[in-house]
Symmetry: C2
Subunit: 247 residues, 2 copies
DNA sequence: TTCAAGCATTTTGCATTCAAAATTCGAGAT
DNA sequence: ATCTCGAATTTTGAATGCAAAATGCTTGAA
């Protein structure tokens, strides 16, 4: 994909099916599109964010784009260097650890709140997801497993029924998604079964509405997830594999 | 490779500095000033944010001000209504509860991390703060008590030594500061002594580096703080006290 | 009086313009 | 050949301009 192949892209379609007030303003639309553009890895970490090119690509002027850049900087996706424009933020090992810990804290909170608020139906749905995931685990279906796993974590956050939490969680998830921390469980069976056990504990704690336990398990779960990912990262480094800079 | 065709970050600039890039740009300064302006209550909740007036007041044009507005909207301090400008966000009872829960989750995380990372010196400093606060409590010195209390909570977050957490915590604290939830402990002695007991528990858990306990106590502490504030709010409402609408 | 319709004014959203800073490019010196 | 200095070009940050939408104000009718 190349920005230089500039097809002005009919800028303002009429996508009216968006309840959020974002899609109603050009700025909001640009914000989302630009965020996706970065999160999906179209710009290498540390790379300059080419204002002009993106304006042409999105078919807008610099004003709304620059507004979006300010927000993305606040989100932590990019850095703003005075008089030198925006750079895609490079996430180091230290910051990655910190971000995982915050995610752990947010999921711990979500779990605690979920224990207070989740309905029987929602719990049943979560239970079904869990068993489906277990099926994937037994069949060693990594893809299905990941999908279920994601769905479960999202469902817990949803069950917490707390709007600011949901927003903040989404923000941090976006920041992390940019780094391909794909803990490839395929070659780490121990971690995989450990993760599965942790999910069993979660479901159990949630069933008993044991908030503190749930909270602890989720934090631990995220810590271990990071540990596994970091271990894999380390292996990759040993092999001299550089950061995958996607085209 | 990058979409731009630009090579990944000229290696010449290895500078890792990113302390406060805010105060260096006009936009950053405006952002902070405007945030303070709103947080300090110069605009009533629900009021229009007068673009033109603020531009004159800050001596800038609309462009940087509007950029700041976009960020503040993302922060949750204001709402952006399409074609009708910005409004100071009105925080309802429901959202207040949610925000307190998130604060509780963040402090719980901070406490957990502090248990892992705090140094003996930092702990000793915290202990001194605690005893100072106890002194204020005995003397019924509300002001000194509040100051110490704030300092302690800040110190715990600082001890967690996690930059994204610190930022997020500051953000939510700012949102809450806008609502005068001054739990006037003066006429709620029970809550005051309960809070004092909770702080004793905190210090004890921290001394034993008992992360989970610390986490639980802090979450509970914030819940109780909200409960007390809400109770007082209710009393005020009964007396027909309206929101102070400042120009 | 109350209400509403029509017009003028203000405000908003975005594009464009402009000065200053940064980056690039090239000539001349070594 | 490489390095350095400086002018040309690009890019950034912010002000200004402009059309569309919203707001307010006046007038007139029930």
């Amino acid at each position: 994909m190349s920005v230089t192949g500039l097809e002005p892209l009919p800028a303002r379609d009429e996508r009216r099916d968006q309840p959020e007030p974002l899609m109603q303003s050009l700025h909001g639309e640009v914000l989302e599109r630009l965020r996706d553009f970065i999160v999906e890895g179209n710009l290498s970490p540390g790379a300059r964010v080419p204002e002009r090119l993106l304006c042409e690509r999105f078919g807008i002027s610099r004003t709304p784009l620059r507004e979006a850049l300010k927000v993305l900087a606040f989100e932590g996706l990019i850095d703003l260097l005075p008089n030198r424009g925006a750079r895609v933020r490079r996430i180091g090992e230290r910051e990655l650890t910190e971000l995982f810990d915050v995610m752990g804290g947010l999921e711990a909170l979500a779990g605690r709140l979920a224990c207070e608020k989740i309905s029987e139906e929602a719990f049943a749905a979560l239970e079904r997801l869990h068993h489906e995931m277990y099926g994937h685990y037994l069949r060693r279906d990594l893809h299905g497993y990941f999908a279920c796993n994601q769905a479960i974590h999202d469902a817990i956050v949803a069950a917490a029924d707390n709007e600011p939490l949901r927003t903040t969680y989404a923000n941090f998830a976006g920041r992390l998604r940019r780094t391909r921390y794909a803990a490839n469980l395929d070659d780490d069976r121990d971690r995989w079964s450990e993760a599965m056990r942790e999910h069993e504990e979660m479901l159990d704690a949630l069933r008993r509405r044991a908030g503190s336990e749930m909270s602890d398990i989720l934090f631990r779960h995220l810590r271990n997830k990071h540990r596994a990912a970091a271990k894999r990262e380390g292996q990759a480094d040993e092999n001299g594999v550089e950061e995958a800079v996607t085209a």
